[in-house]
Symmetry: C2
């Protein structure tokens, strides 16, 4: 990077976003007949399954509405976002406003609303749609969903929780982490006090409760009092997850003009990366056990698209906000690994799942978990960050 300059890099990320990744989804993912998106796309973009996963429907609405709101007022982008938003608002939730996990192509509910992140991505989607269209219906859907998430946040899985109450209470990192991002995403729709309260609580949870001072790392699960649980769940590290949260924190630090919070987020980013980097084959591990014990996750050593692009965002922002040189050194290294392994120059878009050696494990461009989200959001974030430098 330092060889090529920020301007060149900014162009690279912008061009990849606008000339490769977004056109791939525009071309292959739109269900012109029934609305919403196909996300199970083969290497060449062919639809290999038609199920509609609410996470990915919401994320793609969000992505196209965000491009429309922040990059260019292209009617085509708004049409694509609107197609998914209509599909979701019609079929995506039950009568209590809980969002299903998945739907058939036609919109029939397939998997029950056991997963609160379906709600989170729906709220993000309708927040951007409200911004893009001025629609009060979309705004209400975002607000009601947000309020429902807060209501459910003490027991996110509800009746689908298989843990016996009381035996081993643990709290998970995912929800406070995503609320950091979500509360800013829909800030324009919320009461100022609610936003500030949520933001402060999330910052505290992420940087104090789930942050393990001894190791400098972010734990995925801790005891209710924030202490370490020496169990499979308690020992679990998800480096990409912790690093992704750090750019949410940096954005919140900027909003608060809190330099020391930004510096803490940078330090955590670098510490996680140092722990999570595979010194033999390169790339960042998917999961680790903080004590080095065997994991339950058989996919622990795989290299995933979202882990790498989220890391690039945190490193770019980390340098932008704090000027820390180590951010640039690591950016170079992760950038080289990422760009030489994930993009598919033959058929477009990026591979998602590589094995430990960096070989393609699954040739898909989209599936149950990979959709039009992390890669384009990351390209956008890095583009915009370097543009400012």
């Amino acid at each position: 990077m330092m060889k090529t300059g920020f301007g060149h890099l900014s162009d690279l990320y912008r061009d990849e976003l606008l000339n490769n990744v977004i056109p791939f989804w525009e071309k292959h993912s739109c269900d012109m007949e029934l609305g919403g998106y196909f996300t199970c796309l083969d290497r060449d973009g062919k639809v290999y399954d038609t199920d509609k996963f609410v996470w990915l429907q919401g994320r793609q609405v969000w992505m196209f509405a965000t491009l429309y709101n922040n990059v260019k007022k292209r009617g085509r982008w708004l049409d694509i976002a609107e197609s998914g938003a209509k599909f979701l608002s019609r079929y995506g939730h039950d009568t209590d406003g809980n969002w299903y996990f998945s739907l058939t192509r036609e919109g029939k509910p397939l998997i029950a609303p056991y997963n609160i992140f379906s709600d989170c991505f729906a709220a993000m989607a309708f927040g951007q749609m409200a911004k893009a269209t001025g629609s009060k219906d979309y705004a209400d859907l975002a607000i009601n969903t947000f309020n429902n998430i807060i209501l459910k946040s003490d027991n996110p899985k509800g009746i689908y929780n298989k843990n016996i109450a009381g035996t081993r209470p643990l709290k998970g990192f995912s929800l406070p982490m995503i609320l950091c991002n979500l509360s800013l995403e829909i800030e324009h729709l919320l009461d100022k006090d609610v936003v500030n309260k949520t933001v402060e609580r999330c910052i505290y949870e992420v940087t104090e409760v789930f942050y393990d001072k001894g190791s400098g790392l972010i734990m995925e699960n801790v005891k209710p009092d924030g202490s370490f649980s020496d169990t499979f769940e308690g020992r679990l590290l998800n480096p990409g997850h912790g690093i992704e949260a750090m750019w949410f924190i940096m954005d919140l630090a900027a909003r608060k003009n809190d330099k020391s919070l930004a510096e803490k987020a940078v330090k955590i980013t670098l510490d996680i990366l140092d722990k999570g980097w595979d010194r033999e084959f390169g790339g960042i591990y998917y999961f680790l056990d903080i004590s080095g014990k065997p994991l339950q996750q058989l996919e622990w050593d795989q290299k995933l698209w979202w882990v790498h692009i989220e890391t690039l965002i945190s490193l770019a922002k980390g340098y932008y906000f704090t000027g820390t040189q180590d951010c640039l050194t690591w950016f170079d290294k992760v950038h080289d690994y990422t760009w030489s392994h994930f993009p598919d120059r033959q058929y477009g878009e990026w591979f998602g799942y590589l094995n430990r050696r960096g070989e393609v494990l699954l040739p898909l461009k989209g599936g149950k978990w990979k959709g039009c989200f992390h890669i384009p959001r990351g390209l956008y974030q890095v583009w915009k960050t370097f543009e400012k430098l």
Copy 2:
């Protein structure tokens, strides 16, 4: 094998069972203080986690009771089996007789009884314990658990089922498959008519409903009428699972003196193996998609202990019951792969999880899913099968 003869092979499997694998579990897994077993054992046998998974507790009771019943009346084996049986009967189930998925070391319930295979392995365990001790309590526990499994068999996950009823009804292969085995395991405790009815229904389900005539393979999930479902679940193949079921079928065929059923099971074994064998790196894949589409299972290309040892049982029995030469040819190939990759000559027992290339992915000897079961049961079965030849 043909080089070395059946007698030599029989000795090899027996010695590995009695001099390596069983002593490893005798030495490292017994919780002398609180009863039951540690199954999370590191490469050298060290306990790295103390949670007690009901599948593995039940399976280890079953294994030691089976050795006691069928190999030698060693008091130590019965003591070990009894320690687990007491722990399980005291802590393993709720007041309705549903078996929890996991417990803390002390026996407090951790994960709710969402998984009917916990019940299946408990029933197997107490069936062997009833045989070993003549205890009516153990017999009743086995019978009541069996009856409860039959009651739950139409909706095995009960309230933990996340599928929305009616949208996409599918039935799974696991339960009919395991009932083939379980009904013979506890035959001595059941009414003769119940056994015969269950056995006939299971044979029909496995060899007609889940058997796909077009491909010759066993599907993991089918529509209620037995037809193919072109969905992630419907396309799924689990080669080890299908092959394991085939030696259950061969045992049932022998019981019924049904030669053509045995031959069908041999043909299915060989067809699955031909499909499931990794021609590049050797070994049998964990999961495949029948249409060659991308899978949801990130661990699809890994080589697992149980898949390989179960295949050796089906091939040995296939040759024994039908004399099919291809069974021997494949046995040689799978035997060579298995014995050169799984046994750990340094610390004893066998590795469980290899990556596609056959390199150790997790160094554990036991964990949440690997316990004292497939390897010793397989060594026992192959030993006894070759002994008869």
